[in-house]
Amino acid sequence: MSFGYLLNLAVNGAIEGSIIALGALALTLVFGIARFPNASAGDVITVGAYAGYGGQLASGGLMAAGVVSGMVGAAAISLAFYWFVFRKLAGRSAVYPLIASIGAAFLIRAAITFFLGHDQRVYDVPLTRAVALGPVRVVPTDLYLAAGALAALAVVFALLHMTPLGRRMRAVADNPDLARASGISARRVMTAMWLIAGAVSGLAGVLLGVKTVVMPEMGWDLLLPAFAATILGTIGNPVGAVVGGLLIGVAQELSTPFVGFTYKIGVGFLVLLLVLMVRPQGLFSGAERVR
């Protein structure tokens, strides 16, 4: 096992990790602001992948159309579930929205498999030859994927840290009662948050669909690594979610020569367990974030 081989795995893991990071970012936004682990995030990602696939098909093969329709489709479903389900459970123990989010996940997957079946679909992307960067060989598509994920992360950070809306969202995440007392409209913050989380999930779905295949279970399978990344990077901390995502992605890929391809998803679970045992507050918890 050469160094170059491991380096290749690490790069692959980082690319996959950037997609996990998007999922983890969506999870951490919901966890930080609506305060429950949203198990339907995975299936919203799946919606994004299918909507993106449909958009690309309808536009005659335009990838940009696929990205936009994937993000819009996932944001729409995310907002719909906020409006019809999670809004009604605000203020109750996190158990209730958590169970409801499992219900939402099943409902989404049932609709997809009922109307579209279980067939795998693939995005229309040109096959490209891998280019060599030193000892690392990368497919250009993968570089576009990573660039797309990083651009989206940059946009979300800009939103959170440079706009009044972002400031309000962070205020609610830090202290909901204080935020309400300061006259921040919880409903508007929630609407914005679910839209952003949905759009981010949608992009994750499109990227994952381009990298692998579009199928009904794709998002659900991403859920455990994304949760692991969220907890690894401290729940509610967007930077932590991204770093956690990259770490999990790299750890999963680097483990494949040792444990085999099929146990890859188990590595995410193992990391999750270790973090929870050793440092349950995550890697990125400052004093002000401990809850």
Binding site: Y96, I102, G103, F106, F114, L224, Y263, F269, L272, L276
Partner: protein, 294 residues
């Protein structure tokens, strides 16, 4: 028709054992367990593997129960430290890890091909009746025993302690009791019921594959528990009957309504379970038999 009803009854009683276990976890103690199917799988595979290697069935069943309970031990230990939402994710991960293990460790579990030819209960015990009848009778006894055990537990000081964990853990601590050992014991006991259910399932179906142990089964049981009323012993029975009624009813629906394929019916069942979870937590978190006094 009698044979059919008996077969439905067997499935209902297997689910009831699982619901009783989950109710102990969540209904009485407030521990969120999203990995119940993992304990069920441990029980099913343990008993199946031992039985096909010629182990006497009662011993195989005992091993299934013990191993399922032991597999819950680390989760119980974790539950001491984790917030309930984290525990939900970890238990879900546990059940998926069990399935991964079954798929991968072909030398033990025969991987995705599964284990065929598991002896049925009448065969394994040499009972002079059909396999379904034997399974049904033994399941009735097992459920009665489980209900008796749970009833005794709930009425004992132990029961009052675990209900206190659910309602106000800090208050229990203030009384000088350590919630930890209660949580671990409850986790193991509830898992033992699921493991027993798994053993019955393996010897009833006589064939196990990893596909039979998807997370969906966990949430079937959640629907049964919430529908019947979490924290009620009678709730498990009512909820399980309603669940199996729905699952079987959807089969009849497919026979009546033409043009619905089995895969579409599977999607519909998944959708109904999802919708039920959402509607129950919004409108009836206490369930049919729920406690309306509080």
């Amino acid at each position: 028709m009698e044979g059919y009803l008996l077969a439905v009854g067997v499935i209902a009683l297997i689910y009831m054992l699982m619901t009783l276990g989950l109710n102990l976890h969540y209904g009485f103690t407030g521990l969120i367990n999203f990995g119940h199917v993992g304990f069920f799988a441990v029980g099913a595979y343990t008993s199946a593997i031992l039985a096909v290697h010629g182990v006497w069935l009662p011993l195989a069943f005992l091993a299934a129960v013990v191993l399922a309970a032991l597999s819950a031990w680390p989760l119980g230990v974790l539950s001491l430290r984790l917030r309930i939402e984290y525990l939900a994710i970890v238990t879900l991960g546990f059940s998926e890890a069990v399935r991964l293990f079954i798929v991968n460790e072909r030398w033990l579990t025969n991987g995705v091909q599964g284990i065929p030819g598991i002896p049925s209960l009448s065969e394994g015990l040499g009972l002079p009746m059909s396999a379904t009848t034997a399974t049904f009778i033994l399941l009735v006894l097992a459920n009665l025993a489980a209900i008796l055990v749970i009833h005794r537990i709930v009425k004992s000081p132990f029961g009052r302690a675990i209900e206190a964990i659910r309602d106000d853990e800090e208050a229990l601590r203030a009384l000088g009791k350590d919630p930890g050992s209660f949580k671990i014991r409850v986790f193991m006991l509830g898992a033992a019921f699921a493991g027993l259910g798994g053993a019955f399932y393996a010897h009833y179906i006589t064939f196990v594959t990893p596909d039979q142990f998807l997370p969906l089964l966990t949430f079937y049981i959640w629907v049964a528990m919430i529908l019947g009323g979490a924290g009620r012993v009678s709730g498990a029975a009512v909820g399980t009957l309603a669940l199996v009624g729905f699952l079987e009813g959807s089969r009849f629906l497919r026979d009546i309504v033409p043009g619905v394929a089995e895969v579409e019916m599977a999607s519909l069942r998944l959708g109904v379970v999802g919708l039920a979870l959402i509607l129950l937590v919004i409108y009836r978190p206490g369930g049919i038999m729920g406690d309306y006094s509080s």
